[in-house]
């Protein structure tokens, strides 16, 4: 079984071929073209430019993903139809619709977040059938922060979500406050890693907390909703707390303290995510925990969630996607499409449309 995946929901144009071999997802090709640099020139994303760029590149990217594979060997076309930017989504959908019609292949609509969750199973040693359910997915990205209970593949329930900003968005906005550019989530994470590393080295060398590490306790940022009984999140107030803190500092102080602030901010965000994930895993008695989405690339989050699962839960598996599959890609879309293929859940080519606000717990 061979599935062609197509993904254009935001700034990445992507196509991929995924084969299901011995009950595993085997990525045959995975082509991703990022527009991040193009949009950086404008200081923000430009939906019309994004759509045009998708349009220019989608066919060459699909050709590259196909390589020597003939269309007649493909069993289905899986495409992201939401959530995302409507103008970007439409390029992938219309291209896929045309191909599905011309090649006579079934069209499978895939929810972008479902793709991020299933990215955990790409090139995984475990057979799909051996992945025990129910599972819990923590989906974290620039546009989403959700705790999703997976009763089965494709059968999802959102049990918690952010009430305001997504965690990736908070990283980006903190970067802006600290003068690290926008979007600068990666810069914040890098600064935090650097700080943590220096702390470890200094602690190891002097066997005592160095002055720079003590600064961290000089200010602590809030952990919003850490102790609320539900599984929801809030990151807007954390971002504002960073702003208040920075407003009190001189330019020199700000520059000097930037790595410390980044580390404390990252700690605060990860602590809330980890605590709620563990609490939800206990309550719903899940058998596996999946970390998914662009922020799943964050080392601190990957490590601290793994550590917390090890310390607090017994016999629960922990999945993190390979780094190359944390960002948007089409291999994850093809793989997520497989579960709908099994149910023969195909879209009507005449009726299908973009769903910019598609919630993962709604069937489309």
């Amino acid at each position: 079984m061979l599935i062609l995946g197509i993904e254009t929901s935001c700034d990445e144009t992507a196509a991929a071929l995924v084969q299901i071999e011995n009950g595993r997802f085997c990525v045959k090709s995975n082509v991703v073209l990022s527009q991040v640099k193009i949009h950086a020139r404008y200081g923000g994303v430009v939906p019309e430019v994004a759509a045009r760029k998708h349009l220019e590149t989608i066919i060459p990217i699909i050709k590259q993903a196909l390589g020597r594979i003939s269309p007649k060997d493909i069993d289905a076309i899986a495409t992201t139809t939401g959530p995302g930017l409507i103008t970007s989504l439409l390029v992938g959908i219309e291209t896929a619709r045309g191909l599905a019609f011309a090649w006579g292949k079934p069209f499978i609509t895939v929810n972008h977040l479902d793709g991020h969750i299933i990215a955990n199973l790409l090139n995984c040693r475990l057979q799909i059938a051996d992945c025990r359910l129910p599972a819990l997915a923590l989906v974290v990205s620039g546009g989403h922060t959700e705790l999703i209970l997976m009763k089965d593949f494709g059968k999802y329930k959102i049990i918690g979500e952010t009430l305001d900003d997504a965690v990736g968005e908070a990283f980006d906005k903190v970067a802006k406050i600290l003068g690290l550019g926008y979007p600068g989530g990666h810069a914040v994470a890098r600064m935090a890693e650097q700080f943590n590393l220096e702390c470890r080295i200094q602690n190891a060398e002097y066997k005592l907390n160095s002055a720079i590490c003590n600064l961290q306790s000089a200010f602590s940022l809030p952990r919003p909703m850490l102790n609320s009984p539900d599984f929801n999140f809030s990151f807007s107030g954390l971002k504002t707390a960073v702003l208040y803190l920075v407003q009190k500092l001189s330019d020199d102080e700000r520059k000097k303290l930037t790595p410390t602030i980044c580390a404390e901010f990252q700690n605060a965000a990860a602590e809330v995510l980890v605590k709620k994930t563990i609490a939800a895993a206990k309550k719903f008695k899940v058998k596996n925990i999946f970390l998914a989405g662009g922020v799943a690339a964050n080392c601190h989050l990957r490590e601290s969630l793994g550590q917390a699962i090890h310390d607090n839960l017994i016999g629960i598996g922990y999945f993190v996607p390979e780094l190359k599959y944390t960002g948007d890609n089409a291999a994850m879309i093809a793989a997520a499409g497989y579960f709908k293929y099994l149910k023969k859940d195909f879209a009507d080519l005449e009726k299908l449309d973009a769903k910019p606000n598609w919630r993962i717990d709604e069937h489309c």
């Binding site: 430009v46 939906p47 979500e161 305001d164 900003d165 997504a166």
Partner: protein, 141 residues
């Protein structure tokens, strides 16, 4: 008119009361820096319009629309945009001035050219005065 609020709750309540005066078709341009309290204001407004859903930041998808008991809400965030024309490209303007919808644009200063000549335009500015104190300036309805 200018009002000072000293807590998130007060900002929320102020926006909720403000929503009671809206008739539908209004386009609200919201001004204020990062952390000024714009999202809290929008959530209060949504509550006042009878929106049941959670109003989340639309920064990433630029526009989110909600069904409300009294009026619908179209929530736009221009933060990531570089030009006003981009809002037209994603169909945001289709909602402006609709009788059953109130539109609100965060970071309206990023799309000034788009606001020229818009009917029923209401400009609201939120300033952060330090700690939890905020100044909210808006016209009387």
């Amino acid at each position: 008119m200018k009002k000072i609020t000293t807590s998130e709750k007060q900002t929320f309540e102020l926006a909720k009361e403000f929503a009671a005066n809206l008739q539908g078709g209004e386009v609200i341009a919201l001004y204020g820096d990062l952390g000024a309290g714009k999202t809290v204001f929008v959530r209060g407004l949504a509550a006042g319009l009878g929106v049941k859903e959670i109003v989340k930041s639309p920064t990433f998808v630029i526009m989110k629309c909600y069904l409300g008991k009294k009026l619908n809400l179209c929530h736009i965030d221009a933060y990531r945009l570089s030009r006003g024309a981009e809002l037209a490209a994603i169909g945001a303007l289709d909602f402006w001035g609709k009788k059953n919808t109130v539109s609100i644009i965060e970071w309206a200063d990023r799309v000034p050219e788009l606001l020229n000549g818009v009917k029923n335009l209401i400009k609201i500015r939120i300033e952060h005065l330090g700690q939890d104190k905020r100044k909210i300036s808006f016209p009387l309805l």
